[in-house]
């Protein structure tokens, strides 16, 4: 990774973490406090990003919304990866017939667009933050699982694994110490890219009213709320939208920087 990319990544991660964990440092106000007299204020000195139809400060809400959006993205990706590691590893180490079955199922799931699949899952579970996480996580799992499987399959026949066998290592030790860590290393960059994608999907679900319920400050939900007033208060939609774009872009940049690092190894 180049020096600038490194500094940029660290700064961006630090900023997002600060926003997610301690939003009051950047925006001391209450994101839920309504003030009808201040409704539809334009962005200005008093309200950096303006106010919404109930007079809530958009800046405060965007900052406080980072926690929800990012944790949905992170938890969903972690869930997806977790399922993928289990499925991919089982498939790679199974006898051929079981591998074939798992693979066919994964391919069938992979054929359904992820967002559509997430909607399908929400249709069963009903809307909410938890269901949104599960929906986004599970819908990304088949793609990751295929990658984990192919990584582990190629590692399975490596001299490294033979050496571990000769040293008397059991299957579990080989999987834990060698197969999974080495399989995940090249996937790290991809996972970072995936977090950005998951944030977008989580926002999309909220936008459709299937994720975080109002009045919680979630970017997708704010975008949706602003849609009604787009002709008189453009700032209501613009700033949450920009926040989503910023997360996706920075996740992509960090992912690409990591990808370059992995390749150079």
């Amino acid at each position: 990774m180049s020096r600038t990319a490194k500094i940029f990544s660290v700064l961006v991660v630090a900023l997002w973490l600060l926003m997610a964990l301690a939003p009051s440092v950047l925006a001391p106000g209450d994101p839920l406090a309504i003030n009808p007299t201040q409704a539809f204020q334009k962005p200005g000195v008093a309200h950096f990003f303006g106010t919404d139809e109930s007079g809530r400060d958009i800046y405060t809400r965007v900052i406080h919304g980072a926690g929800d959006s990012l944790s949905i993205g992170l938890v969903a990706t972690a869930l997806g990866m977790g399922v993928a590691i289990i499925l991919g590893t089982i498939a790679a180490l199974s006898p051929r017939w079981l591998d074939e079955i798992i693979l066919r199922v994964l391919e069938a799931l992979y054929a359904i667009p992820s967002l559509l699949m997430a909607l399908l899952i929400i249709a069963f579970t009903g809307p909410g933050v938890g269901p949104a996480i599960v929906a986004v996580g599970l819908s990304t799992a088949p793609g990751y699982a295929r990658l984990v499987r192919s990584q582990i399959r190629s590692l399975k026949n490596s001299e490294m694994l033979e050496a571990a066998t000769v040293l008397g290592r059991g299957t579990w030790l080989k999987v834990r110490n060698h197969l999974i860590p080495n399989a995940l290393k090249p996937l790290l960059a991809l996972v970072t890219l995936g977090i950005g994608q998951a944030v977008i999907w989580a926002a999309a679900l909220s936008f459709l009213g299937l994720g975080t319920p109002p009045p919680a400050p979630e970017w997708g939900a704010m975008l949706s709320a602003g849609r009604t007033y787009l002709h008189l208060a453009w700032w209501m939609s613009l700033f949450p939208g920009l926040a989503i774009v910023a997360v996706a872009v920075s996740a992509t940049m960090i992912g690409r920087a990591l990808g370059g690092k992995v390749k150079s190894l």
């Binding site: 490596s158 001299e159 490294m160 033979e162 050496a163 571990a164 066998t165 000769v166 040293l167 008397g168 290592r169 059991g170 030790l173 110490n177 060698h178 860590p181 080495n182 290393k185 190894l265």
Partner: protein, 531 residues
């Protein structure tokens, strides 16, 4: 035969961004002369060869650099293209890598002619057949239409040489052209190089092994750290070496050196330590009727051998003779179709993996490419900690003392504990692999071509180390190699494999002195010897 000078090199220096690789070397190659540049990797011999093709990639300076009378010092890329293949060409090291697997070899050979001659399509075809015939390719017309993957190792090597000769060059460079080839292919390449010399071409041989060049070279130049430390006729250099380094290289050649006699000056091994022959207890390793078939191909056919404790059994054979499959069955990595492997008197190969794991600690493995057998995320210390803790931890702290001891046992500094194996040299990596294999205190080590990727001088230090460990610990070795001279030096007993069968086995001295089977005789006659 004319005495025309084909290559003149005067005060050649090559540096890469200021770090010198070759320093002020001078030599000439005449028509009909074979000059050997000998030295270990990093000595600058390959850079020298590449400078003669305009391919060094560094800053080349010289007071004279000419090929076939033409000054080549200031040539640009286009002008170099005219020289390469026409006046001078190179036989590459690895036939499998150097030939395009998707194209017929005839077309590969013709490619060079397309750029370098005005020959028509049919004339080119004619020339390809001529040149294939000149390297004694069987059925040249048929072979020209085949791809390199359809050819045997020997044919591939011939095709590679034919490719170098297609443009009828006056000078041929052979850069480690025999390294890593088994003895018959080596003999083939050497005989081809001799033919070139007899045709009056100049040959520049590059090698790390004095024994490989001893019988062919007219003159030898020994290189070290970018300089020629000694040059002279082959007889002078071999019989009366002046430089310490030359003596060191000569000593490193294992051919004909008695068992346990040191190959390096610094080795602590002495023949007096050799243990008495009275060995009690079960055989370290016994194979009975091992067979393995892949599809229709019989890889290993009824192989049986015994390895007494504290001894070394050498398995020698050409590539594809079934050596490695045998090793994998012995190690329990491949299930034999029939036959059994016994380890210390217990039936090892028929065991289920669960109970077998306990026995596995008794048998270690060393591979040709140690780096491939290390987890790339682990440091030297972590690899050893993992081996010492049976995979429970890779924390160096928990086993620092034992890990340092293991490194000491293989003559590596404990400072390496925090380094990555990638930062080590080839010899150091192999030492580390040995240290790791010794961690569970095994009774048997299976060594599959352990020194084949190493320079002769590095090979000598690793072989001496293996000798010392065997004397100290009484470990038995199953030593697999294509290199007869290494096998002769390292083994108490030897088994010669050919097409999956052991054609001859017995006491090493007896077999090397009086081989009974025709195949063994053929192998031994092809063995390069210094003296």
């Amino acid at each position: 035969m004319s005495e025309q000078t084909l290559i003149t090199v005067k005060d050649l220096s090559v540096d890469f961004d200021g770090s010198p690789a070759v320093k002020n070397i001078s030599f000439t190659v005449r028509a009909g002369q074979v000059l050997a540049l000998v030295g270990e990797s990093g000595s600058g011999k390959s850079v020298t060869a590449r400078s003669l093709l305009g391919l060094s990639g560094g800053n080349v300076s010289a007071s004279e650099l000419s090929i076939c009378g033409q000054d080549v010092l200031s040539l640009n890329d286009r002008a170099w293209q005219k020289i390469r293949g026409n006046s001078i060409s190179m036989i590459l090291q690895d036939a499998l890598m150097a030939l395009d697997p998707l194209r017929p070899v005839g077309r590969e050979i013709a490619d060079g002619l397309k750029d370098h001659s005005s020959l028509s399509r049919s004339e080119r075809k004619q020339r390809v057949h001529e040149v294939l015939e000149s390297v004694h390719m069987p059925e040249p017309e048929l072979r020209a239409q085949q791809r390199s993957t359809e050819l045997s190792g020997g044919m591939r090597q011939r095709a590679l040489i034919a490719q170098a000769l297609a443009g009828n060059p006056q000078v041929v460079i052979a850069d480690e052209a025999t390294t890593a080839l088994d003895s018959q292919l080596t003999a083939l390449v050497l005989s081809q190089l001799r033919a070139l010399k007899e045709q009056g071409r100049g040959v520049l041989m590059i090698s790390h092994d004095l024994a490989q060049v001893a019988h062919l070279a007219d003159d030898i130049a020994v290189m070290r750290h970018g300089e020629i430390v000694e040059a002279g006729t082959t007889a002078q250099v071999l019989e009366n070496p002046q430089h310490d380094y030359t003596r060191q290289l000569l000593k490193a050649v294992p051919a004909g050196v008695p068992r346990f006699a040191p190959l390096t000056a610094t080795s602590a091994v002495s023949t007096e330590q050799v243990p008495a022959d009275s060995v009690t207890g079960p055989l370290a390793l016994a194979a009975t009727g091992l067979s393995k078939t892949f599809g229709k191909h019989v890889a290993v056919d009824a192989v049986s051998f015994d390895l007494p404790q504290g001894k070394t059994l050498g398995i020698v054979g050409e590539s594809g003779s079934g050596k490695t499959t045998t090793a994998r069955m012995v190690l329990g990595l491949q299930k034999p179709d029939s036959g059994t492997v016994d380890l210390l008197g217990e039936h090892f190969s028929p065991m289920a993996e669960g109970p077998r794991r306990r026995l596995r600690e008794q048998m270690g493995a060393i591979y040709q490419n140690p780096l491939g057998s290390f987890d790339p995320r682990y440091s030297v210390g972590q690899l050893l900690a993992d081996a010492l803790s049976r995979g429970k931890t890779k924390r160096v702290e928990s086993h620092r003392r034992e890990a340092a001891q293991l490194l000491d046992q293989v003559d590596l500094s404990p400072e390496l504990l925090s380094r990555s194996p990638r930062e080590l040299s080839g010899g150091q990596r192999q030492r580390l692999a040995i240290a790791r294999a010794l961690a569970p205190k095994p009774s048997v080590l299976v060594l599959d071509e352990p020194v084949s990727a190493l320079d002769v001088s590095i090979q000598a230090t690793v072989l001496d180390l293996l000798d010392r460990i065997q004397l100290e610990t009484g470990t038995s070795y199953l030593f697999i190699s294509h290199d007869l001279s290494v096998i002769e030096h390292m083994s108490d007993f030897v088994a010669v494999m050919h097409q999956g069968k052991i054609v001859e086995q017995g006491d090493t001295a007896t077999i090397f002195a009086a081989p009974q089977q025709e195949y063994t005789q053929k192998l031994l006659s092809a063995m390069p010897r210094l003296r």
